[in-house]
């Protein structure tokens, strides 16, 4: 198949170059190869051009061999050889293996930077006709950057043949880039080229248009200036979109980390400093699940996260219930003491994991459906971030539904609003407390599964998020999950928008200062509970 396609390409080239017949074409390739024997840079350059133009099926392998320093020649025999990847010696003209060690005076054909550029262009042109659309696209992009006028005939042929619209657009842009740089293109052609490049609208287009030679016609310059302005405008917009995307991604992580905290704080008035360690435990559950799958049944690897999600919830939630039963329930009504005790607990959990799993980062792999990325306009969207946003929203909706439509949720809300009254109505508040704490910790475990995909799984994993999650809870207000959602997303987006101006660290400081100031206005957060519960 491949062979056949190469042949076809070769034939087409032959026709275009008006070479008479097949033998002649073969001779042309052999002649072109002779340039490499001279051991002279300008001869080699001529050789590259002729080989590229010959259309022989060996042209691309020979050029890439030259690029990699695998092309050899014998000055005495006037023959050219190449080595393939496994170091076999091949005849460059035919591609057949050579018996024996070849001539004694074999020497590498030397290249310099100028030749490397020529080679890039020539190889780009050759792959413009490759059967694989992805390779053709890459080749068009390479030509766009190299702007080598010699490629133009090949490019035109490729454009005529091209059926894939995306590849064709890239080729047309490459052609426009060449036209723009060419001295003998007409003013009208160049103005049209500016329009084509303007439509491309990315950083490369911007560089190309703003680097236009000073002697280009005024009309072209004017068009280019307009185009630069419009591209910059477009890029600024995409920058904004990208910041929002990054912000949403960060916000969804914060949401996952903070939402469990908000539940426990809302219902029990308890600040759980060990919350970050629950996240860490969730991440380690993912690690353990993946390890077991790796050793027992690698085929299940793509399902590892689906298995880890309920397990992490159960493990972290179970630990949470144990903590509530053994420590926290003795500290109700003493929030500051609870804070200290849970901090101590976080130290113990961290050290326990450090002892059990070692202090180093653990490798947690991404299943195939979470790796990779796709382009949307000028931004790249990675699948893992996208899935994490979806996951956090699902968790959020599930929690809202649980609070609104289940018996447990009803009782939790009752205890949040008025503990004494809820107890008087027959709600077992102690049981609700334990379940709430378990639920909050379980959600933290879920956050750990998600974070294992984008962060280092180490005993310190949770610490990095705990202060940010507190900020979210303080900002959003307690007792209302919508506050947590709005708080997390707005903090995430604000963070990413401040970063370009202030840098990552100063952006973070600015956010902290803003929150401190915000607390002045609304001491109980965005979505504060009203009424008597406030003073409780």
């Amino acid at each position: 198949m491949r062979h056949w396609a190469d042949r076809l390409v070769g034939c087409l080239l032959v026709c275009m170059l008006l070479l008479a017949a097949l033998p002649a074409h073969a001779a042309g390739f052999a002649d072109a190869l002779q340039h490499f024997v001279a051991d002279d840079f300008s001869e080699t350059e001529a050789g590259i051009a002729e080989v590229a133009a010959s259309g022989d099926r060996m042209a691309a392998p020979v050029l890439s061999a030259l690029q990699d320093g695998r092309l050899l020649f014998s000055a005495a025999d006037k023959t050219v050889f190449m080595k393939d990847e496994s170091d076999r010696l091949l005849d460059a003209a035919t591609g057949r293996p050579v018996a024996g060690a070849g001539p004694a005076d074999l020497d590498t054909v030397r290249i310099n930077n100028r030749l490397r550029r020529a080679l890039d262009g020539a190889l780009g042109a050759l792959t413009l006709l490759a059967p694989d659309a992805g390779r053709r696209f890459d080749a068009a992009q390479a030509v766009f950057k190299s702007r080598d006028e010699n490629v133009l005939p090949t490019l035109d042929r490729a454009i005529d043949k091209e059926t894939n619209s995306r590849v064709k657009a890239a080729m047309l842009q490459a052609r426009a880039a060449i036209t723009l740089g060419s001295a003998d293109a007409t003013e009208a052609d160049q103005t049209a080229a500016v329009a084509v490049i303007r439509a491309r609208g990315d950083q490369d287009a911007l560089n190309l248009l703003s680097g236009l030679p000073a002697d280009s016609p005024p009309a072209v310059q004017r068009a280019a200036r307009d185009a630069v302005a419009s591209i910059q405008h477009g890029l600024a917009m995409w920058d904004g979109v990208q910041n929002i995307w990054y912000g949403l991604s960060l916000g969804s992580v914060l949401l996952l980390a903070a939402i469990g905290l908000a539940i426990t704080f809302g219902v029990m008035g308890v600040i759980n400093m060990a919350h970050g360690e629950m996240v860490m435990i969730g991440a380690y559950v993912t690690f353990v699940v993946q390890e077991i799958i790796r050793t027992r049944n690698p085929a299940l690897f793509d399902y590892s996260l689906a298995i880890a999600v309920p397990l992490a919830f159960l493990v972290a939630g179970g630990i949470g219930i144990v903590i509530e039963r053994t420590i926290i329930r003795f500290l109700y009504g003493r929030p500051l003491e609870t804070l200290l005790a849970t901090w101590g607990l976080s130290l113990i959990l961290q050290q326990a994991v450090r002892t059990g799993f070692g202090p180093n980062n653990r490798e947690v792999g991404a299943p195939s459906w979470m790796s990779g990325a796709f382009e949307l306009g000028q931004i790249t969207i990675t699948y893992n971030r996208l899935w994490i946003i979806c996951f956090s929203l699902v968790v959020f909706v599930a929690l809202i539904a649980l609070l609104r439509f289940t018996r447990l949720g009803l009782e939790m809300r009752a205890v949040t609003q008025n503990r004494a009254m809820a107890a008087a109505m027959g709600i077992a508040t102690a049981r609700i407390d334990a379940l709430t704490f378990g639920l909050g910790s379980g959600v933290a475990g879920l956050a750990g599964v998600a974070l294992s995909q984008i962060d280092n799984v180490s005993p310190n994993l949770g610490q990095g998020y705990i202060i940010d999650s507190f900020m979210v809870v303080v900002f959003g207000g307690v007792g209302n999950l919508w506050g947590t959602l709005v708080g997390a997303l707005s903090l995430g987006i604000a963070n990413k928008f401040l970063e370009p101006f202030a840098g990552a660290v100063l952006g973070k400081i600015a956010i902290l200062v803003l929150i401190i100031l915000f607390i002045q206005k609304r001491p109980r957060g965005l979505f504060a509970l009203r009424g008597r519960a406030v003073e409780a």
């Binding site: 200290l340 113990i348 507190f470 902290l512 401190i516 002045q520």
Partner: protein, 383 residues
């Protein structure tokens, strides 16, 4: 009668405590400097520096006890004030290095030469004078605490909210000080000190003087705190701790009381940091780490909050345990122990060591008083 008796005995306890501190301030340098190195009683210099470190921590704990034990403000960011005082002192010490640095620049500290800074930043001006640096040791933490407290207390941020915001404060400062362009040496902080007031910081005599100065500072801190908590002002603080809303309704401006005591406490923490730095020989941004501030709170909890002496004892005990554990084969277990300490103290010993002892004492007295003729339980009139 019982209460005045109690107050008198407390005073006696306080005096005894001060006497013990004074004795330590004299005895430790004497054992180090005057007793020959061959004698069994000789105190090695490294131990004296270690004790000096504990004393600085004790002063920090005292500052936390003043606001937490008597006013109910749990600051999880007091390490920030400690570190700021330390940085102010460190800046003075950096300027004293002069041309003896690696790059031999008479004005710029080494790290600025290394970062190609053309001249000294404005906020480093004046730090070559000890008096100015000493003023800054009090002023920088004090002003920060005043501004922060003014915002926080005025809008009635209390309880865990305040704790978390103070934690965020120290976290933000840590992030800032880690940056090179903040002008405080970035990651490495300030170190390689040579002289303080013309004396070599490494010399035994200087170290002894620093130790004595730390103990004296601690004594002054204890006296100030005791004066405050024993006064009518202190009673209002306790009232705020126990029933903030009620105190406000009685007509006290709660936020002013809190602001004053918070600022004072920050200044004390700053002094502690300033004395800590020359004895340890380095100050870097990790001093701002929120974990440090929380650890300082547990010193107070272990010793007993609202007791002042307990804070000092707790700081020394916990830090001695830390030194003991982290310097040997037991190092991996230190965090287990520290964590367990947090939990055990809050669950089993909420009054702390000193508080529990006092509680026993007063219970025994009230039992004895109960067997005696009826005690006078009427509250003392406000003086």
């Amino acid at each position: 009668m019982t209460q005045s008796f109690l107050a008198r005995s407390l005073d006696r306890g306080g005096t005894a405590f001060l006497v013990v501190l004074g004795a330590i301030a004299i005895l430790v340098p004497v054992l180090n400097l005057l007793v020959p190195a061959t004698s069994a009683l000789h105190l090695p210099t490294y131990l004296m520096s270690l004790f000096g470190k504990y004393v600085c921590y004790a002063l920090l704990a005292l500052a936390i006890d003043l606001i937490w034990g008597y006013c109910g403000i749990l600051s999880l960011g007091h390490g920030a004030f400690f570190a700021l005082g330390g940085y102010a002192m460190g800046m003075y010490l950096m300027r004293q290095i002069g041309a003896r640095g690696v790059y031999a620049n008479p004005v710029l500290p080494d790290f600025m030469v290394f970062l190609n800074w053309p001249e000294l930043p404005v906020y480093w001006y004046g730090f070559e004078h000890f008096a100015y640096a000493a003023l800054m040791v009090l002023l920088v933490p004090g002003v920060l605490a005043f501004v922060f407290g003014w915002f926080a207390f005025r809008s009635r941020v209390t309880g865990v909210y305040l704790s978390i915001i103070t934690q965020a404060l120290t976290y933000a400062l840590m992030l800032g000080f880690f940056r090179n362009n903040f002008g405080f040496g970035g990651n490495n902080g300030l170190t390689d000190f040579k002289d303080i007031l013309g004396f070599n910081v490494q010399a035994e005599g200087t170290r002894a003087a620093l130790f004595a100065a730390s103990v004296v500072a601690l004594m002054i801190g204890v006296i100030i705190c005791r004066a405050i908590v024993a006064s009518k002002f202190g009673k209002v603080l306790i009232a705020i701790r126990d029933a903030e809303a009620r105190t406000r309704f009685l007509g006290y401006r709660v936020e002013s009381y809190k602001l004053f005591v918070f600022t004072l406490s920050a200044c004390m923490a700053g002094v502690a940091g300033a004395l800590y730095v020359p004895q340890v020989g380095i100050i870097n941004p990790s001093e701002f780490a929120p974990a440090n501030s929380i650890e300082a709170v547990i010193w107070v909890a272990v010793g007993g909050r609202g007791t002042l002496t307990g804070a000092v004892i707790g700081a020394v005990l916990v830090n001695y345990a830390k030194t003991y554990f982290t310097s040997g084969a037991l190092a991996p277990y230190w965090l287990f122990l520290l964590g367990a300490l947090f939990i055990a103290v809050t669950l089993a010993l909420p009054r702390g060591i000193v508080g529990t002892l006092r509680h026993w004492q007063s219970e025994r007295r009230s039992r004895m008083a109960a067997s005696a003729p009826a005690p006078d339980v009427a509250p003392r009139p406000a003086e």
